[in-house]
């Protein structure tokens, strides 16, 4: 006996549209089972996890704080994925963006003024781009596998940041804690509505990025090029599009957005550099990109959902006393369900005997 996937000739359009919601439903169900096994009342646990964070203004702000980097990164990743470039290293591009952007407030704290912040943001973008250019150039010139090279560069970036904040960039007034100096007021990304909560302009950047990228992908020649190269590289070459050019462009877009997310997070949410500045946004954004169907507008919704899984994890830790690793479990289940739903919409499972024997049986 053999289990195989058979392509459906006509995948259902309805289920295609419903797929993300189905995946969420499956995730919630599996989550309930998981809580039951942990000995918690499933309905209370799910409430604490998914609903409670949405009932208070301050935690809605927290939701946006968490969603901003996820959305920014995922939009860049979707551009890469659409063009068949598998950039898995957004986490590293995020970190390098944060480091580049922090050069000014950390190394030149006396340098003040209204232009500090724009320079920091641009530096952040530049940092992410530079870091993404490495796997891109390696792929374009030497045909290296971008999945491996971009992923490994994440660890390099993490260790580099760790070394920086323990060594040269350690806060001179920081009692030897592994942290950079606190950003001065001009270097802090302001809150959108400072009276009610912490949500900073990073979320605004995310929304702008989503709209702009949606337009580029669906309405411009560049977006056309990216989609052609992803679906049919040979036709792309015939059209006169350059493979290397597309690799580089898409990686730079992804790196730039990840870098912007990185500096926004450090300057808007944290206020200094620390050894760890991301709870894995760069990886979670991969889930966001797929849950959002690689569509920038879908990604905004997906980013909010995944942000909720982080918040719920924290909330569940407090109110239920479960480990906040539950958030990771949830994200894993969600990615799994998304991929499973998509696969089952395009393929059906068939349990086959020996086909050759079957063939002779007639």
């Amino acid at each position: 006996m053999r289990v195989e996937l058979v392509r459906r000739p006509h995948p259902s359009a309805l289920y295609g549209a419903l797929s993300p919601f189905l995946a969420l439903l499956i995730t919630a169900t599996l989550g309930a089972i998981m809580f039951a096994i942990l000995g918690k009342a499933p309905h209370l646990a799910l409430y604490a996890y998914f609903i409670e964070p949405l009932t208070e203004v301050w935690s809605l702000h927290e939701l946006l704080v968490k969603a901003a980097p996820l959305i920014l990164i995922a939009i860049g990743l979707s551009v890469c994925f659409l063009s068949n470039n598998w950039n898995i290293g957004a986490e590293g591009q995020f970190i390098i963006g944060a480091i580049f952007g922090s050069v000014l407030p950390v190394m030149f704290p006396e340098f003040r003024g209204p232009f500090v912040l724009p320079i920091m943001l641009l530096m952040g973008i530049l940092g992410g781009m530079t870091y993404a250019a490495i796997p891109a150039l390696l792929k374009a010139k030497l045909n290296t596998n971008e999945i491996l090279s971009s992923l490994m560069l994440v660890y390099v970036a993490q260790l580099f940041l760790d070394w920086l904040v323990r060594g040269p960039w350690r806060n001179p007034q920081g009692f030897n804690f592994p942290e950079s100096r606190n950003f001065h007021a001009d270097a802090v990304l302001p809150e959108v509505i400072s009276a009610s909560g912490r949500a900073h302009y990073g979320f605004v950047f995310a929304i702008i990025a989503a709209v702009v990228m949606w337009y580029i992908l669906n309405r411009t020649l560049k977006g056309f090029e990216i989609r052609v190269m992803g679906q049919s590289p040979r036709a792309g070459r015939f059209a006169g599009f350059s493979r290397a050019g597309t690799i580089l462009t898409t990686f730079l877009i992804a790196g730039g957005l990840a870098g912007l997310a990185g500096i926004s997070e450090v300057s808007g949410a944290i206020g200094q550099l620390r050894p760890v500045i991301s709870p894995g946004y760069g990886f979670t954004a991969i889930i966001v990109a797929f849950l959002g169907r690689l569509n920038p507008l879908g990604i905004v919704a997906a980013g909010l959902v995944l942000a909720l899984s982080y918040l719920g994890g924290e909330a569940a830790q407090i109110s239920l006393g479960v480990s906040n690793k539950v958030a990771n479990v949830f994200q894993g289940i969600l990615l799994f369900s998304v991929l499973a739903c998509d696969t089952l919409i395009h393929y059906r499972v068939r349990i086959a005997g020996r086909p050759s024997a079957e063939g002779q049986g007639v």
Partner: protein, 533 residues
């Protein structure tokens, strides 16, 4: 199975189709189609592009589901929900568009469809045996991506035969083959028929249908318009049944340029040599050619002798070592990509429609942009790189009108067009530009007789209006009909051109075997499709 209880007539029919209907949107691709196949017959399915032939056979093979109607196999109603069901029944199919994985070897492709129970080496040996037995030379170890269409098709046929089907469906098997290759295929098919198996045969070449087929079913606009004995008909009467009217002959008025030497050539290829792109690709050797305005130059040759490599070199998908190797309207273009060459006035129509000339999952208007964004940038692309979709749809409308492209909705996906209609669109996209130079590889592959005549006429008219045209084709008749001069490509070399008036089929046939250029042929078998040894 209780076959023995069935009345003899039913037992005799292998496959019976009753009232099959299939609708795409508002288009009835098949409308109450009836026909049957008996064991040991070759049954032809005829009809113009978009008549619904591929749709019908896809339902027999389980890759599409009928909306209504029944399929009976040996008298029993059956539901064929996917190709595996079809194979289990004993139905094999060779698709119009190939379904092989390019990055796998021939043997691996075959093993995949056998279900993985058989070892690769045994599959290769089996495939070799079948290929010898039926006279279908294949190389099991070669990557499919490196092979010519002719050989890819042989792989598909061998793969199909390996499963010992009772009914083999062939969707336009000869449209990519040279006459010699087709001849071999016919021998194979007749052998298969002698073994008592049946064949359902789709082709636009009526002569071969008359030679080969015992019965024919003719479709027009999705309906059966006739069941007939093709041998009792003439090619003309068959064509008239398909189209509902007579087909015009191509009018090849005399070439305009009296003294081409005085004119500037639109295309100069100067001693072009290049190493092979892959282990099984063909090297180009000292290819030289000039194309003048007002003329059609034909390149004949057996597939796999460097035509695809030549096309990619001329189109700029592969660049040359020196810019002056290729000159378009007097400008060095050897270092320009396809866009640069298009801007110089060239237009290209590649051999493979899906995945090379068009992106299957994109709409037709988007596919229009594929080859037009560089030259008609102002028309179709606005400020900030915005695509002007309205301009695209109106251009699409124009092209569809000009070449009579049949489709099911206003702007469908390229993959939903019938093979011939997509071909018309890809060529129409270039005609619409009135290019100074058109280079077309297999321009009428899979196009029905009426549309093929139309396309050839368009090509000739384009040339007579002052453009230069280079046509690469395996179809000698087509070249003799269109071209003013013909050269032969063999083993990556191109012969001198010969004026069509003085050329004979025999001479061309000899040159195709590699005896051109006054060189003795090193090959003992001129039929061998690959030029690399």
């Amino acid at each position: 199975m209780s076959d023995t209880d069935e009345p003899p007539t039913l037992q005799n029919t292998l496959l019976k189709v009753e009232g099959i209907t299939k609708t795409f949107g508002t288009l009835k691709a098949n409308d109450r189609v009836d026909f049957d196949i008996v064991p040991g017959e070759i049954h032809a399915l005829l009809g113009e592009n978009g008549a619904g032939k591929s749709t019908l056979v896809k339902m027999l093979f389980g890759s599409l589901q009928p909306d209504s109607g029944t399929i009976k196999w040996r008298g029993q109603p059956v539901t064929i929900s996917d190709p595996m069901d079809a194979r289990a029944l004993g139905i094999g199919m060779v698709f119009q568009h190939f379904s092989l994985f390019e990055s796998l070897s021939a043997a691996e492709n075959i093993a995949l469809s056998l279900g993985g129970e058989v070892s690769l080496s045994r599959t290769a040996a089996e495939a070799k045996r079948v290929s010898d037995e039926y006279g279908l030379p294949i190389h099991p170890d070669r990557l499919v991506g490196e092979l010519s269409v002719g050989e890819r098709q042989r792989i598909e046929i061998v793969r199909c035969l390996l499963q010992q089907p009772e009914l083999i469906i062939l969707d336009e098997p000869t449209s990519v083959l040279t006459p010699q290759e087709a001849e071999k295929l016919f021998a194979t098919l007749e052998k298969v028929r002698r073994e008592g198996k049946s064949i359902l045969y789709i082709s636009h070449r009526l002569e071969e249908v008359q030679r080969l087929c015992d019965r024919a079913t003719v479709l027009r606009l999705g309906r059966v318009v006739a069941h007939c004995d093709p041998r009792a008909e003439t090619a003309k009467s068959l064509a008239a049944m398909m189209v509902g009217e007579d087909i015009h002959d191509v009018d090849r008025r005399k070439a305009v340029p009296k003294e081409p030497a005085k004119q500037q050539p639109v295309l100069v290829i100067d001693d072009l040599s290049q190493p092979p792109t892959g282990p099984f690709a063909v090297a180009l050797r000292n290819v030289a050619l000039e194309v003048f305005p007002g003329e059609v130059v034909g390149i004949a040759g057996i597939a796999g002798n460097g035509q695809s490599e030549f096309f990619e070199a001329v189109s700029g998908e592969r660049l040359q070592d020196r810019p002056e190797r290729i000159r378009i309207r007097g400008k060095n273009a050897g270092h320009d990509g396809p866009s640069g060459r298009r801007r110089l006035g060239a237009a290209f129509s590649p051999e493979e429609r899906l995945g090379h000339g068009a992106v299957p999952g994109f709409s037709l208007s988007e596919n229009l942009l594929l080859s037009r964004h560089a030259t008609d940038g102002k028309t179709y692309v606005g400020a900030l790189g915005t695509i002007k979709s309205r301009a695209l749809t109106s251009a699409l409308e124009r092209i569809v009108q000009a070449l009579d492209v049949r489709k099911s909705e206003a702007d469908p996906l390229a993959s939903s067009l019938s093979g011939g209609n997509l071909q018309k669109l890809i060529l129409g996209r270039e005609f619409d530009r009135a290019p100074a130079l058109l280079i077309a590889n297999q321009p009428t592959w899979g196009v029905d007789a009426g549309a093929a005549a139309h396309i050839r006429q368009e090509v000739i008219d384009l040339a007579r209006a002052g453009s230069g045209v280079l046509v690469i084709s395996q179809d000698l008749d087509e070249l003799l009909e269109m071209a003013d001069r013909i050269a032969v490509m063999s083993d990556g070399r191109l012969s001198e051109t010969i004026p069509t008036e003085t050329v004979t089929r025999e001479a061309l046939g000899l040159m195709m075997g590699g005896a051109g250029n006054g060189e003795a042929s090193a090959k003992n078998s001129p039929m061998l499709p690959e030029g690399t040894i």
